[in-house]
């Protein structure tokens, strides 16, 4: 394992990885992340397949919820963890299933560093790199329209797990949607806080693994209901 040297771009950055039943994928994801970002925290959500052990062996810090709370709750736990580190300046959220690219995360943190914004949202719809399965594209597009209508923030992709946030942004957000409805919630919190944000084109890799394990489209019904009811 080649951890980055001190003074490298990742030293003041925590990568928060929500983790649930990804034992076969998380090891490689963490190892790849740690070549650039030495500080990776996986928030395991009561996985029963040894995900936590794999993550730990790959060099990540692991915070374990003893019961499954959901991805939104896990992100908030990761945020709280990062805030306990007084020297943390940036936080990246990154999926455990290998769908995100580390280079994209690096570029996003660089934009924070340059002072361009306090929040950088990843978007898979800004360039042609990502091939989104057709039905998924329809659902994601509808979600974006809904989020844009209700939050006043005009994004091109509302449900992307790759984001980069400044410490200030992390400190001012409080995620209350514990399951998947947190994505719109983060957008709307950022919109209301007035924090400057930008979007960054990123690539989402749709592998057979991620397709088999990812969110069922039916779950978007739950997300919609939870988003509306608050």
């Amino acid at each position: 394992m080649t951890a980055a040297a001190p003074g490298s771009p990742g030293d003041d950055t925590w990568v928060v990885v929500p983790l649930y039943q990804e034992a076969t994928a998380v090891g490689d994801v963490v190892r790849e992340l740690r070549r650039t970002f030495p500080q990776v925290v996986c928030v395991d959500d009561g996985s029963t397949d040894g995900s936590a052990e794999q993550a730990r062996r790959a060099g990540a810090r692991v915070v374990r919820h003893c019961i499954n709370l959901g991805q939104g709750a896990a992100l908030q736990t990761g945020f709280d963890f990062a805030l306990r580190d007084a020297s943390a300046r940036f936080v990246v959220t990154f999926d455990a299933d290998g769908q995100h690219r580390v280079e994209d995360a690096v570029a996003m943190v660089q934009r924070l560093r340059d002072g361009e914004a306090d929040v950088v949202f990843g978007s898979r719809f800004l360039d042609g790199r990502t091939e989104v399965p057709r039905l998924r594209r329809v659902v994601l597009r509808s979600a974006v329209h809904y989020t844009n209508l209700t939050t006043g923030v005009r994004l091109t992709d509302a449900h992307n797990g790759l984001r980069a946030l400044s410490r200030r942004a992390v400190g001012s957000l409080r995620i209350t949607h514990h399951r998947m409805a947190h994505a719109s919630e983060i957008v709307s919190l950022v919109g209301r806080s007035g924090l400057p944000w930008v979007e960054q084109p990123v690539e989402i890799r749709y592998t057979d693994y991620s397709r088999a394990k990812g969110q069922s489209l039916l779950n978007s019904v739950n997300i919609l209901v939870e988003t509306i009811l608050g």
């Binding site: 500080q39 925290v41 019961i67 908030q76 736990t77 990062a82 306990r84 580190d85 209350t176 514990h178």
Partner: protein
């Protein structure tokens, strides 16, 4: 518009409001209990004096007493769903806070006293 239609629409709007607005916990609970008592009184009355319910039903334009009771039940049921959704959300938040706190403290303890920073870096 029939009187009953007005009443039902208002009742449903109230249910909707309960669902979307977070009212204070105490007030919420009190209102729930008052409604429960009213429902109980209604139930007893409809058993002891069946004619009374039919009389009220005719006044508000429903016709049959049983229909009035049915409408009441539907609204009460929706109200129950709404308020239990609210309460579940509150409870979920508490469970999440607790689990989060436990998780973070446990991790810190496993590591020794330092915070999330690398070895020896001052944390929290």
């Amino acid at each position: 518009m029939l009187l009953i239609q007005g009443v039902l629409v208002v009742a449903l709007l109230v249910v909707g409001a309960v669902l979307v607005r977070s009212t204070s916990d105490v007030r919420h609970q009190a209102v729930r209990r008052i409604l429960l008592v009213l429902l109980g009184v209604l139930a007893v009355t409809s058993v002891l004096v069946p004619g009374a319910v039919t009389w009220v039903a005719e006044k508000v334009g429903v016709g049959r007493g049983t229909d009035l009771v049915l409408y009441g039940l539907v609204v009460a049921f929706l109200g129950f769903i709404a308020s239990s959704y609210r309460r579940t959300r509150v409870l979920e938040s508490k469970v999440a806070e607790l689990t989060r706190r436990l998780a973070l403290d446990e991790e810190a303890r496993e590591r020794g006293v330092d915070g999330p920073g690398n070895a020896g870096r001052p944390g929290a």
